[in-house]
């Protein structure tokens, strides 16, 4: 099929929405990578997440789009920002000083090679295209119902496992964030303060 013909065949609103969302996603990704300030990286990440949410809606995944905005843009990025502020690591990364020589060009080359690999593998047909024994995606009216029907029937056991996983994660976070006050820790703390003073 000719590319121009394909472009003409796509409905204009769909095309414009896809282009805008793709621009948001890629621009946000570049922002995450290139920002010197971690706070700017986090805000660029929000842009990327919103773009992905738009693409979800475009593909009849309304429930996931809402969850994407609530969980990623609402919770995870805020968590990132909290940690950035809490640690006071909003200082700029020094780009000039490199401990590994030529790390950045090599990393960029590795990323491009990875992209080439993915695109190359996409040309081979490893996917069988066979359907799982599940229902269709549905439209904007019953998307939530269809997902719920699957989650609570076919995928009930994994769903229970995620509940266990979340409980474990909460326990781990509490354990990791706990501050043990012993004589040793206090000594370390004073050392840390001295170290900071010297470093700054």
């Amino acid at each position: 099929m000719e590319p121009t013909f394909l472009l003409a065949a796509i409905a204009k609103p769909d095309l414009i929405t896809f282009a805008a969302a793709a621009l948001m996603v890629i621009g946000g990704a570049f922002g995450v990578i290139a920002s010197r300030n971690p706070v700017h990286s986090a805000l660029s990440l929000v842009l990327t997440m919103f773009g992905i949410a738009v693409l979800f809606i475009e593909q009849d995944a309304q429930f996931l789009a809402a969850v994407q905005v609530i969980v990623y843009a609402g919770a995870i990025v805020v968590l990132f920002l909290f940690v950035i502020m809490l640690l006071g690591v909003d200082r700029q990364e020094i780009f000039g000083r490199e401990s590994l020589r030529a790390q950045r060009p090599l990393a960029a080359a590795a990323g491009v090679i990875a992209l080439g690999e993915v695109l190359l593998l996409a040309r081979t047909t490893w996917a069988t295209g066979a359907h799982a024994a599940n229902g269709p995606v549905g439209n904007s009216y019953d998307n939530v119902q269809r997902i719920a029907a699957e989650v609570f029937s076919t995928y009930l056991l994994p769903f229970e496992a995620t509940a266990v996983l979340l409980v474990i994660a909460v326990l781990a976070a509490v354990y990791l964030a706990r501050r043990v006050v012993t004589a040793n820790a206090e000594e370390e703390g004073s050392k840390m303060v001295e170290g900071k003073a010297v470093d700054r």
């Binding site: 996603v25 570049f30 979800f56 969850v67 401990s99 990393a107 997902i147």
Partner: protein
């Protein structure tokens, strides 16, 4: 006719590669973590795209599970980062050379 699924897949591949580049280039641990989240999102996009292309809701259910695991991963990962940097000054991966054998 809506946008073909292959365009979404290409976009997801590009986003995944940008995530890889970010993890390799940046040395701020928190930014590296954000890049991992970007890679997870790229994979989510492919799941949703295949769900539409194959007309199968299972892809969207899998994205749901990936979201839950990502949330748990972020909580534990940031907890580890906080507990490491509470006793260290820098925030780059190079400051973690204490792990060197």
């Amino acid at each position: 006719m809506s946008v073909p699924g292959s365009w979404y897949l290409i976009l997801a591949a590009v986003l995944f590669s940008l995530g890889i580049i970010g993890v390799l280039v940046r040395r701020n641990v928190i930014v590296m973590f954000m890049c991992i989240e970007m890679m997870l999102n790229a994979v989510n996009l492919t799941f949703v795209t295949f769900a539409r292309m194959l007309g199968d809701i299972a892809g969207q259910v899998l994205v749901f599970f990936v979201l839950v695991v990502a949330a748990a991963e972020v909580v534990v990962g940031l907890g580890i980062i906080v507990s490491i940097f509470r006793r260290r000054v820098g925030a780059t991966a190079d400051d973690l050379h204490i792990l060197k054998g």
